[in-house]
Amino acid sequence: MAQTDDWIQRSSAADRLAEEALIIDVEGFEGPLDLLLTLSRTQKVDLRRISVLQLAEQYLKFVNRVVALRIELAADYLVMAAWLAYLKSRLLLPPEPGEAGPSAEDLAAHLAFQLERLSAMRDVAARLMARDQRGRNFFARGQPEAASIHRALRYDASLLDLMRAYARIRTRDDFRPYAFDREHVFTMEQALDRMRGLMGYMGAWSDLTSYLPEGWATSPTRRRSATAAHFAAVLEMAKRGQVELKQSEIFAPLLMRAKGEV
């Protein structure tokens, strides 16, 4: 940092205090460019005459101190630090003969331009807001006259409305639940209906799978769906006391029969 201190003219106590304040207030900056603009003010020169090299030093010093204080810095501050370190080295070293790309001076000039432009936009933003404003400084007719019998209806919509509507539809699409392929799905309600009808014909213990409907026992997808549906259905019926179930061991066929007095 000794080298740095050579660079920056001896700073007054006030300047040092200002720097301390910057560190504490790091959250208050709107990104590296905002910070650079604030730092540049300490040079007390026209932004067009600013020393980018000096500014780079200030920024790097600032970032180093913040990091030393273990204050988390957003990535873009570090990206800017890396870029400024690169710029600084380019500015200090003589250009390599035959080097491609923009010169260090071009890059420095661009940074100065960005700062000047941001500063200018802030100035005009302030001037804009300081203007007389409708509803605050000047006013429209408070009592527009519309006392007439003739009443035409006009429908209106803005582009914003249109886009919102479209966004709404498209967003709804994203949330639309996955639509089942109903052709290969046998629901529990269907199975329950079916089994209720078949109950009268149930005799001795018989395998649940023998009750699968026609056309649902062969294809694996359909078989799976129908079996699950019928299993759920007979569980429901057992709960209601309409059937009895038994299974000799895990994965053994599930046997069922109608319960005595139906």
């Binding site: 408070g142 006009r154 509507a165 539809i169």
Partner: protein, 211 residues
């Protein structure tokens, strides 16, 4: 010198008082009473005199200063009432169904009624389509070369004009809608899955249903 006297001396000139009354009556949403004027104007003002001046100034003009009970207001000169007839155009927002239908036509044109219903997920009432046709924001396009040869809808020049668009291609895509904050910021599981569909929304959709 006591304060009352001081403010009396510092009362603005009558011309200035007239301007004040003029501005207050103009901006107020209701007729303004003399008392109210007095209260609003600097101390020492004489709103009654200012009103009298102002009334004379507006004699024979397009608007008059009139007294309504104890209060005062500007009113259109009665002989010019006929110019106000068109003032009563009532602007009404399009219904949600209409704006959604319009959006679908704009983004997917040419599009059939069945396709609109598929996208919206609900039936499109005849009234909705009729309203958009009447507004001249949509019109019939070419018939689709599919069984039944259904009619298609496209947007009109009037539509583009109203919404300040050069062509329907200028409508922002989904990605841009999101960037502009027009979509919910809730994470959308599907969005990342079909990024290019988002983007091309307005441009390539013309042949979306062409097959």
């Amino acid at each position: 010198m006591d304060p009352a006297e001081l403010s009396l001396f510092s009362a603005p000139p009558m011309g200035e008082q007239e301007r004040m009354v003029e501005a207050v009556l103009f901006a107020s949403s209701e007729p303004v009473t003399l008392f109210d004027l007095q209260r609003r104007m600097p101390q020492g003002c004489d709103p009654a005199e200012a009103l009298a001046h102002l009334r004379r100034r507006y004699e024979g003009r397009g608007v008059h200063l009139v007294q309504i009970g104890p209060a005062f207001a500007f009113r259109t000169a009665p002989d010019l009432g006929h110019l106000m007839l068109k003032e009563t155009v009532e602007t009404r927002k399009l219904s949600r169904a209409a704006i959604e239908t319009l959006a679908i036509v704009a983004y997917h044109q040419p599009v059939t009624r069945a396709e609109i219903e598929e996208i919206r997920g609900v039936a499109v009432s005849r009234g909705t389509v009729d309203q958009l046709l009447e507004l001249n924001w949509i019109r019939l396009g070419r018939r689709r070369m599919t069984p039944g040869r259904p009619v298609t809808f496209v947007v009109t020049e009037t539509f583009l004009d109203h919404f300040g668009l050069e062509s329907a291609r200028d409508l922002p895509g989904l990605k841009e809608l999101r960037a502009a904050g027009l979509l919910d910021s809730r994470p959308l599981p599907d969005m990342t899955a079909a990024p290019d569909e988002d983007d091309s929304a307005p441009s390539d959709q013309s042949d979306l249903f062409e097959d």
